[in-house]
């Protein structure tokens, strides 16, 4: 067998959830018969919900990494509402609801409680939506980072306040239409030049670990959760989780959209330790943003009457900027 053949040993199933040809121990958590299903059936998330999927992916991986010794603190938002309409719960683990804006602070408290009650092996995650994280919860989050509290904070980024009917958040992309927070003026859709990318701000706190991940790349997501769980101190992972309802997309397109967000360069996937970017997930085969935008009704106004709005080019420019900034493309062989 030559080198090439060795490298591509599992040409069928390298990217799939599992692979019958790989030994059990090195398969993904999601492929195992005994995954914890921390977030189980019967929840009320929409059909094809990316957040429900991302949460099970992330928390099951954290459960394995902590030997199922884990407590989750959950901000208000879809994830909390669709899993836990009292008296029902979908969580098969210790789980507590905080408020919309204080999950980071409550998790800090839980971690402190574990420490002082002599349960250092019990690990703590905090989780919330982009609204609860990048907007109202941001002060608490920055404090948790700055104090280097021993919490892994996971943000499920669906680019809006979905639970309350699709409002704009500081993670909503330009030109995306929101249901109840239209900007002033003639043009539909969020404006350019606003918003923030919290993973970068987290990196600036020089905490032990920051990463972005996606429901479209389970291998990468599980590896990052596992790595984060092997560390202590403040850690932050933001996961791109498409929302069929808020994005106006088909329920079966959730993973496809997440994949396109990566392959266009719109959602850069990287990892940073102590303030420095250490790894970037390369684009496998680059796709123009049009292919991503066209699948979503929140961008439908950009293609009205078969004419492409000039703002599409500006969206492409954002993707191109990410590609350049993070080095998302494999260097072309032979190029200097």
């Amino acid at each position: 067998m030559n080198e090439m053949q060795k490298l591509k040993f599992y040409q069928k199933g390298t990217l799939t959830v599992g692979n019958r040809l790989v030994d059990e121990a090195s398969r993904n958590v999601q492929a195992s018969l005994d995954r914890s299903n921390s977030l189980t059936c019967g929840h009320r998330a929409c059909q094809g919900c990316g957040e429900a999927l991302g949460a099970r992916y992330a928390i099951d991986a954290a459960m394995r990494a902590s030997n199922r010794n884990l407590i989750a603190v959950n901000a208000t938002g879809c994830l909390e509402v669709f899993t836990t309409p009292y008296p029902e719960t979908s969580w098969q683990m210790p789980w507590m609801h905080s408020l919309f804006g204080n999950a980071a602070a409550v998790a800090t408290g839980v971690a402190a409680a574990m420490r002082v009650t002599g349960k250092p092996a019990t690990r703590v995650v905090a989780q919330g939506g982009d609204g609860g994280t990048t907007d109202i919860g941001f002060g608490c989050l920055s404090g948790m980072f700055e104090r280097n509290d021993d919490v892994l904070y996971i943000c499920y980024d669906n680019e809006g306040y979905m639970n309350t009917g699709v409002q704009r958040s500081s993670a909503t992309p330009p030109t995306a239409r929101t249901a109840t927070t239209p900007p002033l003026g003639k043009e539909t859709g969020n404006v350019f030049g606003t918003g923030k990318f919290v993973p970068k701000i987290a990196v600036a706190h020089e905490i032990p670990y920051v990463a972005t991940a996606s429901v479209a790349d389970l291998h990468d997501l599980e590896a990052k959760i596992t790595k984060a769980m092997s560390m202590h101190g403040a850690r932050y992972i933001q996961i791109n989780v498409p929302c069929p309802l808020g994005w106006g997309a088909a329920s079966h397109d959730t993973i496809r959209l997440a994949r396109l967000a990566i392959e266009t360069g719109l959602f850069p996937i990287f990892e940073a330790e102590h303030g420095r970017i250490t790894h970037v997930r390369k684009i496998r085969s680059q796709v123009p943003v049009v292919e991503y935008l066209k699948l979503q009704r929140r961008f439908a106004h950009l293609f009205k009457g078969g004419v492409e709005d000039p703002r599409v080019a500006r969206m492409q420019a954002i993707a191109d900027r990410h590609i350049a900034e993070y080095g998302l493309l494999e260097p072309v062989a032979g190029a200097a």
């Binding site: 040993f9 059936c41 009292y86």
Partner: protein
């Protein structure tokens, strides 16, 4: 339990909430027909045996393969592999080297001495198979598997038909034929050599036999009328290639002209080079593109120093001199004479213009219909005479070893049904697993393995096999390139991507089940199934 204010239910799991009621579409696991299987004239379940090979289960792979085709080491050498032309992987990088894995399994089976299982029960019925070419061998094997007594009667001194007396050794070494034939006779098939059947009705009565399968091939060389004068040495291809199996190699001279554009013409020219001809020239009346020979064969012949004269016909021959007329293609693509002539000197001329069937054993058989020189058979392979079936080159079809093997299998199944008085009904075919049904994201690039070839200079020095085989490591790699089109390969994608945890994993080899109590019908499992093995079906509401 006392409930707090405004609360009526006990605290409990959301599993009480059966979200399956939301569903308007339901996912269902399906098996689709992979394009390779669809294209295989022998009806092999290629995807099925590749999946065994992928996990290193070579014997299981070989057994799955030989359930349909008893000659994998032969097929892995001479099959023109229409499966590969249909393979979906071509849309990703290159087709899977199905044929090379088949050869690997066939050779391994010979090396390890794997044998076929004997039939569990005997039917007591007797079937006569006439002709031990691939069609006859395949029919004999399948009939025996089904528990019938088979007599395989062959006119020639050895079994194999055109595989032995046509296809040259450098493409198919004879020990391979011997090994695969021996495995069939070891099942209890009675092979009678040097036993030409002259009258099928009589043979049936003499047996007596309950049914017969005829597979006498097409061995009479077609002639073209070429006026010849002087001591012109003119031979036909069938006769020449057959004599290669005899004691003394035929004498062809230094310069040999072969007339024809098919695979046989190529084999004759390459044989002539190996017999020491300095020049072997193929004369063909149309263009290279129109040659019925496969392009790779033409290429290999050119590498070996065979030369080609396209758009040429032979007008007459006088001693060692031939008159060649140049042709030109008309608008319809047919060659037309131009009136332009040239001469060509040669020591011998070999005609490779195709073969006709010797149908004399069917003289006076009532009900038999002959059309275009071949025997007419129904969809059940039965001729117009009840109980007499026919296949291979003597029946209407493409003339290849693979088609012959397929005919033998198909006929055996219908003969079995005929003998049992319960007509065989083929299982309905699954819908095709076309490329657009796959989610190709999940397949990584993996270029095809190139089989080793003997250097051209060394090829013409002997009849050693030209194409090499794979070894275990690259055969495994090649098998793993298969996309498993249309059939679950247990990648766990559906189990993983369900946001509702509504896919139940049943464990290795048992695939998955949808938990319809909770499945909301989002369709993610179907969209993310790499191989198109889940279908969304409208729910009756």
């Amino acid at each position: 339990m006392k409930h707090p204010y405004a609360i009526t239910l006990d605290v409990g799991t959301s599993r009480k909430n059966l979200t399956g009621s939301w569903r308007t579409l339901r996912p269902e696991y399906v098996d689709r027909l992979p394009p390779c299987n669809n294209a295989c004239p022998a009806g092999e379940d290629i995807q099925g045996w590749l999946s065994h090979a992928e996990s290193g289960g070579y014997e299981a792979a070989w057994r799955a393969l030989t359930a349909n085709n008893p000659l994998p080491a032969i097929m892995g050498r001479v099959c023109y592999h229409p499966c590969e032309n249909a393979c979906n992987r071509a849309s990703i990088d290159e087709t899977v080297g199905i044929n090379s894995v088949e050869r690997f399994l066939g050779d391994l089976a010979i090396e390890k001495g794997w044998q076929f299982a004997l039939p569990a029960t005997e039917s007591g019925k007797k079937v006569l198979v006439v002709g031990a070419g691939p069609a006859g061998l395949s029919a004999a094997y399948h009939l025996r598997r089904l528990g019938h007594w088979v007599t395989l009667r062959e006119a020639g001194p050895l079994a194999g038909g055109m595989m032995r007396f046509g296809i040259p050794k450098y493409r198919l070494p004879r020990n391979i034929i011997d090994a695969e034939v021996a495995r069939i006779t070891a099942m209890g098939v009675a092979l009678e050599l040097n036993s030409k059947v002259g009258d099928i009705e009589k043979a049936m009565v003499d047996g007596p036999f309950d049914a017969a399968f005829l597979a006498v091939g097409a061995h009479i060389a077609k002639r073209a009328y070429i006026p010849a004068a002087g001591a012109a040495k003119v031979l036909d291809a069938v006769q020449l290639l057959r004599s290669m199996e005899g004691e003394a190699p035929p004498l062809l001279g230094r310069k040999v002209v072969v007339y024809g554009g098919g695979n046989t013409a190529i084999d004759v020219a390459r044989t002539a080079r190996r017999l020491g001809a300095q020049e072997a020239i193929i004369v063909y009346r149309r263009t290279r593109e129109k040659m019925p020979a496969h392009d790779f064969e033409v290429e290999e012949a050119l590498e070996e120093g065979v030369s080609m004269k396209w758009l040429s016909t032979i007008k007459n021959i006088d001693g060692g001199t031939m008159q060649i007329e140049k042709m030109a293609l008309d608008e319809k693509g047919f060659p037309q004479p131009t009136g332009e002539f040239e001469t060509l000197e040669a020591d011998s001329l070999v005609l490779a213009l195709g073969q006709d069937v010797d149908l004399s054993l069917l003289n006076n058989v009532p009900g038999i219909v002959i059309e275009n020189g071949v025997v007419k058979v129904g969809p059940d392979m039965m001729t117009g005479r009840a109980g007499v079936f026919a296949g291979g080159d003597m029946a209407p079809s493409e003339r290849t070893v693979t088609v012959a093997v397929g005919h033998g299998k198909k006929a055996a199944r219908f003969i079995d049904g005929y003998l049992r008085g319960q007509p065989y009904v083929p299982a309905p075919r699954h819908g095709l697993a076309s490329f657009d049904r796959l989610n190709s994201w999940y397949y990584e690039d993996a270029p095809a393995t190139v089989r080793p070839m003997l250097e051209a200079a060394r090829r013409v020095q002997s009849f050693a096999e030209v194409q090499g085989g794979l070894d275990e490591t690259n055969a495994l790699y090649e098998a793993r390139r298969c996309l498993s089109c249309g059939n679950c390969f247990e990648c766990d994608n559906c189990y993983g991507v369900c946001p509702d945890n509504a896919v139940i994993k049943l464990g290795a080899g048992n695939r998955f089940r949808i938990d319809y109590d909770y499945c909301k019908g989002c369709g993610l499992c179907a969209a993310e199934c790499p191989c198109g093995a889940i279908e969304m079906v409208a729910e009756a509401i």
